[in-house]
């Protein structure tokens, strides 16, 4: 067994070759990190197009999210969810509600609050404010939160706090309610995705 005390020449005073070896390992780390970040962005930015001629909307949503085809009794026309997430799946949803000429977008939000307060635990409206779409279209935005108590038979999950946003905009004789719901702990990250979704949305 060869025992060599290289403490002084290899670690405290490396040769130029050894020094370069250490530097190249650091460079490899930086390249690996940048490559993976690039692959992450490329993977997460893949999108799928959704078009509904009847309602007149076209949307781009993340390619790996689950598109929920609505039944006749559903109160929405489009819903996608990130089923890969743990906890509450991040949801983008669009509902189309017929309105009369003098209806205010605010009254739609109040109606949603009344309906959800009956079915969702600890439902709170946090903020209501005007919202400006990119195409000079005025809407209204409401922030809300509640506790999701839905049980999952496969996990020992505790109820989770979710936060969300409703954006209501009047289009012709109907109001479009664009909803975003996410686990509160990951709200900020997911809201960035929702902003991209809104930018791509046309109606």
């Amino acid at each position: 067994m060869q025992v060599t005390d290289l403490r002084h020449n290899a670690f405290t005073d490396p040769t130029p070759g050894q020094r370069w070896g250490h530097i190249l390992v650091g460079v490899l780390g930086v390249i690996a990190l940048l490559t993976v970040l690039n692959l992450k962005n490329a993977t997460l930015s893949r999108k799928t197009i959704y078009t509904n001629v009847e309602v007149g909307i076209t949307a781009l949503y993340p390619a790996d999210w689950l598109l929920d085809e609505p039944t006749s009794s559903a109160d929405y026309v489009f819903r996608v969810q990130n089923r890969h997430e743990r906890g509450y799946p991040t949801t983008f949803q669009i509902a189309s509600i017929p309105i009369s000429g003098d209806s205010q977008a605010r009254s739609i939000l109040d109606l949603l609050t009344l309906q959800r307060s009956k079915t969702l635990a600890a439902y709170r409206t946090l903020l209501v404010e005007p919202y400006q779409f990119a195409e000079d279209q005025q809407g209204i935005r409401g922030l809300f939160t509640y506790v999701d108590t839905a049980e999952n038979p496969f996990t020992q999950a505790i109820p989770s706090v979710v936060s969300g946003v409703d954006i209501v905009v009047s289009v012709g004789g109907r109001a479009l309610v664009i909803t975003f719901i996410s686990e509160a702990s990951n709200y900020d990250n997911n809201y960035t995705l929702f902003e991209t979704f809104l930018e791509d949305l046309s109606f």
Partner: protein, 293 residues
């Protein structure tokens, strides 16, 4: 205080007075394999206790103390500074490595969208190579203060680094996901093997550069190849342990997945221990005064 025995020292101790690192490393991996297997078989019948999960989290560390640390105490020439390495790595792992892997890159959240070969590439470039490079850097840094005299000294410290990574990773997993006990032990086995493979490649790459005066490109090549092989083992294991949805059954082949992981660490240990031994013998021949070549 340490007393010398009055009985004659065994011949084996005179030939090799250190703790056998390859053996203890594989013993830890095998013990975790058995524990994960047992919990998979009986896990669903166990009561839900948070304390039990936190105790399970200590499994890699406890096994390291039993097999490695106590082994060092029994060895004629124990290695020093293992606790320093452990504490230093715990800080680095909790402050840098695990946040980068799970908050910045968050690979597990999006890797599934790729094909098998892309998954190996992504895993190799992230979950495998970054711990490898961190282990390498920690060893280089600690080498200024600790007496690394043989190749296996580096491996012994790399083993501790892997244990620290695995423990911190397991703690983050537990706090994030609240898994069942059986899932936690399965995760601990998978991550411990992952970090063991990363660490042994880092120790091998550094030992060749330092002790064999290899080319400056050697560590990069060794770490790169090692990481892709590590990625291959891990993705193969994940494909087996994840549930397959078929018409007849939805049971996961977790046993095959566990065996793939265990086989991976044993195979890498055998190959790298052989390479290290050959390098050591070559170095001994070169420096021997009775060199005849």
């Amino acid at each position: 205080m340490r007393y010398n025995s009055i009985t004659p020292t065994s011949v084996e101790d005179l030939i090799y007075p250190y703790r056998r690192v390859w053996l203890t490393l594989n013993l830890i991996a095998t013990s975790l394999f058995v524990i994960a297997l047992v919990f998979q078989l009986i896990g669903n019948r166990l009561p839900y206790t948070q304390l039990g999960k936190y105790l399970a989290l200590l499994l890699p560390f406890i096994l390291w103390v039993i097999f490695s640390f106590l082994g060092e105490l029994r060895a004629r020439l124990p290695r020093h500074g293992l606790w320093h390495t452990l504490l230093f790595t715990l800080v680095i792992a909790n402050g840098i490595v695990i946040p980068v892997l799970y908050d910045v890159l968050n690979v597990p959240a999006w890797i599934h969208e790729n094909t098998f070969f892309n998954k190996i590439l992504i895993h190799g470039l992230s979950m495998s190579i970054l711990p490898s490079i961190t282990t390498y850097s920690i060893l280089v840094y600690l080498g200024r203060a600790l007496p690394f005299k043989t190749r296996l000294d580096l491996l012994a410290h790399a083993e501790v680094i892997a244990i620290a990574f695995s423990s911190v990773d397991g703690l983050h997993y537990l706090l994030r996901n609240q898994p069942t006990l059986s899932s936690l032990t399965l995760y601990l086995f998978g991550t411990t093997v992952l970090y063991f493979i990363s660490s042994i490649f880092a120790a091998y790459a550094l030992s060749e550069l330092v002790f064999s005066q290899q080319s400056r490109f050697f560590p990069v090549i060794a770490l790169g190849l090692g990481s892709f092989m590590n990625g291959f083992i891990h993705i193969l294991k994940s494909n087996f342990t994840n549930t397959k949805l078929t018409l007849s059954t939805s049971a996961p082949n977790f046993l095959i997945g566990l065996v793939v992981s265990l086989g991976g660490i044993i195979a890498f240990s055998v190959v790298l221990s052989f390479l290290m031994r050959v390098a050591e013998q070559r170095q001994a021949l070169q420096t021997s005064p009775e060199k005849t070549i």
